[in-house]
């Protein structure tokens, strides 16, 4: 399951600059990799494990249950309003709130979730962390709920990294990162009790990263969406290959004789 973790951000060396517009920051998001050199503490996000246990050096075992107690300053920005310009969407609809350390962690995690695949770029290469930042910084109810979930997950992951490996997650090596990922990336019936909560929270983060990736031109091409192109004349409908596949599906389900008539 967990092969291909070539974290392209690890190889990048650009300085992250703050105070730039959303789309400028998109261009520079690759810089996040430099984060490994940044202070490990999460500034602006006062996190501390609730029940830290057995934090001995070199302990590489799964921890017991813990959860960060975040004290988040409220988002006070207003939204883009009920009559935004739809042709030229706002570049920076609200102030971004992730710290450099958080962005770095998001970048590393995003590329674990969506690594480069041949010519298809990784999540951070198409600036997914900027979308995550915009999302968790947005002054809307759903995004504010996600902010708590996702910032808690980020803090948990660093806490876990500290407890197991005495380092921040971004500073871990691939094997160490994988050990944590394999514990939290499956929100299923068999998930151990101490990882239930983080697995669910990480699942929300994963869904956001995936959506942000597949929304990019590269991701949209990768998923195989072929629409949003104007067609002259009538809608051509399914391809021959698609009809043939349907015929097989109908046969497998015993529905062939009930097929809807298709005009040639």
């Amino acid at each position: 399951m967990a092969k291909d973790q070539n974290n392209t951000v690890d190889q990048q060396e650009m300085q992250y600059k703050s105070g730039i517009t959303r789309r400028d920051s998109l261009k520079l998001m690759m810089a996040l990799a430099a984060s490994a050199l940044l202070p490990a503490a999460l500034t602006g996000c006062d996190s501390a494990p609730v029940s830290k246990t057995d934090v001995g050096a070199g302990v590489a075992k799964a921890s017991t249950e813990h959860w960060p107690d975040l004290k988040l300053s409220p988002i006070t920005a207003t939204g883009y309003g009920k009559d935004p310009n739809l042709i030229l969407p706002p570049e920076s609809p609200w102030p971004l709130t992730l710290t450099q350390a958080q962005l770095s962690l998001v970048a590393v995690l995003s590329d674990i979730l969506v690594p480069r695949e041949g010519s298809v770029p990784s999540a951070s290469e198409v600036h997914v962390p900027a979308v995550v930042d915009e999302w968790v910084s947005a002054p809307y109810e759903r995004q504010q709920e996600d902010r708590v979930t996702i910032l808690s997950a980020l803090a948990w992951i660093d806490d876990e990294a500290q407890m197991r490996f005495d380092n921040t997650f971004v500073a871990l090596d691939k094997t160490q990162r994988k050990a944590i990922m394999d514990d939290i990336a499956y929100d299923i019936a068999e998930t151990p009790a101490q990882f239930k909560r983080i697995a669910t929270a990480f699942g929300r983060f994963r869904a956001l990263v995936l959506a942000a990736f597949f929304c990019t031109p590269e991701g949209t091409k990768d998923i195989g969406y072929l629409g949003n192109v104007p067609i002259g004349g009538d809608y051509p409908g399914p391809t021959k290959e698609a009809y043939e596949h349907l015929d097989k599906v109908l046969a497998d389900l015993g529905l062939t004789e009930y097929a809807y008539p298709i005009q040639a």
Partner: protein, 559 residues
């Protein structure tokens, strides 16, 4: 409007108001239209082809843009700034408004199904609600005229829930999608038919409007005019006659009367200057949307009309109906990994499931009186802020799961007819006023057993269709859990219903108020019942028919 000597004043620029303005200006009458929202130009403002990834939050909806960033609703949605509404205790109702030229026609679903004789005579059949004061045959020619003018694609199916259009009226529908063909086969095995949806989307050019090019969601609005909205069709066509003037940002606060009870005009707030203006008119047509028109009448009190204007029956605000709604969906493994192709089409249902239970209801085999249909949501969508299905893990295996699930999720949206009941109505909140000092609407709402049993039937039917597609839905929600909120389907109608008698209705069959002959209602408020088939086509058809009648009355000097 000092230089414009208009005869008819129309309040509202949506489906009803624009059709009224079109019909009357074409017949030579000068019309002044008031719109509470801002001017709107779909040619320059429609985000054609814009991708979710280019929008904030990947286009996802929020309290500013409930249906997503690109939705063609201006200054509206479930809440309008500074213009609240309230709900009575234990009631919940959602009221969608827009504040823009063209109103909600800029973003509507464009589903355009005719009501049938069966629909118009529900009370005669089962004793519930009210009959409409005309027969299907009276309105059928007007459906033809409206469909021809609007441009509706679809076919005559011969099904009892879908009365036929005259030959040559409908434009050809687009080919069904793979997902719809699978659902149709599964439903067919259960004896449930599927049919091409009728939609107000051009598949052939019409006047200055282009045919659909099968790209960019209709909900964004349509700058080429293929997806019908009044801002690309009826309003410019009415303006071209030289007989229409429009004032935007004009929020009407009352319909004014003289000492004899005759309507003399309206008072409106110019939102830009926050000043009140009076306008005199020979005839006033309310088409502000069912609940805005009823609110306006209830707020137009005088010593002669202490309970509000046109309300001698006490029915203004009563009989509020929405469509029932419920959503049920699942991942269909048989569709996973299917071959990709461009499945946008006209971006909504090519096939749907019309109501098939007329005969069963005649035989008393069903425990609910009125029908429903299923709309189908299942296609290779443009990626947005969500992903389909439950995915786990990370890395390339995670990506593989997402791609495998892509286009394999099937959702059914039930849309059903509710029966009006005494607990569903609107009145005026005794305390709350909007920014303009106008008392606001207060809603009262409670679904009855009729709707809950209908939804229960729909859930079980969807479960059975899914079973034929190889999907087991082991646990269904209860109908109480599944039914959407009142107003949520945005088919609110009935608050100024038409009827055969001034005792129990607000207008006659022409939308003319019983109490004031020069006051008409031409929005969904006049509906005597709310068939499951989406209200806009019938709003427009009635507005055309009734404006034509009004024109004849004016020309005869009867009004």
């Amino acid at each position: 409007m000092k230089d414009f000597d208009f005869e008819v004043l129309v309040v509202g620029s949506g489906a009803g108001g624009s059709m009224a303005a079109y019909e009357l200006t074409k017949a030579g009458h000068k019309v002044l239209m008031l719109e509470a929202g801002r001017d709107y130009n779909p040619k320059t403002e429609t985000p054609m082809f814009k991708r979710n990834g280019e929008a904030p939050l990947m286009g996802a909806g929020n309290k500013d843009k409930d249906f997503g960033f690109y939705d063609a609703t201006v200054d509206g949605g479930w809440q309008v700034p500074d213009e609240p509404y309230t709900a009575a205790e234990n009631s919940e109702f959602l009221w969608w408004r827009s504040r823009m030229l063209g109103g909600r026609t800029n973003h509507w679903g464009r589903y355009s199904l005719r009501f049938s004789e069966h629909d118009f005579k529900g009370k005669s059949r089962d004793g519930l609600g009210a009959d409409w004061p005309f027969d299907y045959d009276d309105i059928a020619p007007w459906y033809d005229k409206t469909e021809a003018l609007v441009g509706v694609c679809g076919t005559n199916t011969g099904l009892d829930d879908m009365p036929p259009s005259s030959d040559g009226i409908l434009q050809p529908p687009p080919k069904p999608r793979i997902t719809e063909l699978l659902i149709a086969a599964a439903a067919n095995k259960l004896g449930i038919p599927s049919a091409p949806m009728h939609r107000a989307v051009l598949t052939r050019p019409l006047d200055s409007r282009a045919a659909c090019f099968y790209a960019t969601p209709c909900g964004h609005g349509c700058s080429i005019g293929a997806a019908f909205q009044t801002t690309t069709s009826l309003i410019p066509m009415a303006r071209a006659t030289g007989n229409l003037q429009v004032i935007t940002d004009a929020m009407v606060k009352s319909v004014d009367t003289d000492e004899n009870g005759k309507v003399t005009g309206v008072s409106y707030v110019d939102k830009k200057t926050a000043t009140v203006h009076q306008l005199k008119a020979k005839v006033v047509i309310l088409a502000a949307s069912a609940c805005e028109s009823a609110r306006l009448l209830l707020n137009s009190k005088s010593t002669r009309f202490p309970n509000g204007l046109a309300n001698s029956s006490g029915q203004v605000g009563k009989n509020l109906m929405d469509s029932t709604g419920a959503n049920i969906g699942a991942m269909v493994p048989a569709l996973q990994g299917r071959p990709a192709y461009n499945e946008d089409g006209h971006t909504a249902n090519h096939l749907f499931i019309p109501w098939w239970g007329h005969k069963a209801q005649e035989r008393k085999e069903l425990d609910f009186p009125r029908g429903y249909h299923f709309e189908i949501g299942a296609r290779f969508r443009e990626p947005g802020a969500g992903i389909e299905g439950n995915v786990q893990g990370y890395g390339l295996e995670l990506k593989r799961q997402v791609k495998h699930n892509y286009g394999a999720y099937v959702g059914f949206a039930l849309r059903g007819e509710m029966v009006p009941n005494e607990f569903c109505y609107m009145d005026i909140d005794p305390e709350v006023k909007d920014k303009w000092g106008i008392p606001v609407a207060r809603f009262h709402w409670k679904w009855s057993e009729h709707e809950l049993k209908q939804v229960e039937h729909g859930l079980k039917t969807a479960q059975a269709i899914f079973a034929e597609m190889g999907v087991t839905l082991s646990e269904l929600p209860t109908p109480e859990q599944a039914i959407l909120k009142g107003g949520e389907i945005i088919h609110e109608v009935g608050t100024t219903r038409m009827g055969a008698s001034p005792k129990d209705s607000v207008t006659n069959q022409w939308g003319q108020s019983w109490d004031c002959p020069n006051l008409f209602v031409m929005d969904g408020g006049v509906f005597a019942s709310n068939p499951h088939k989406n209200c806009t086509l019938t709003i427009m058809t009635l507005a055309m028919r009734n404006s034509s009648w009004l024109s004849a009355q004016l020309k005869q000097g009867a009004i």
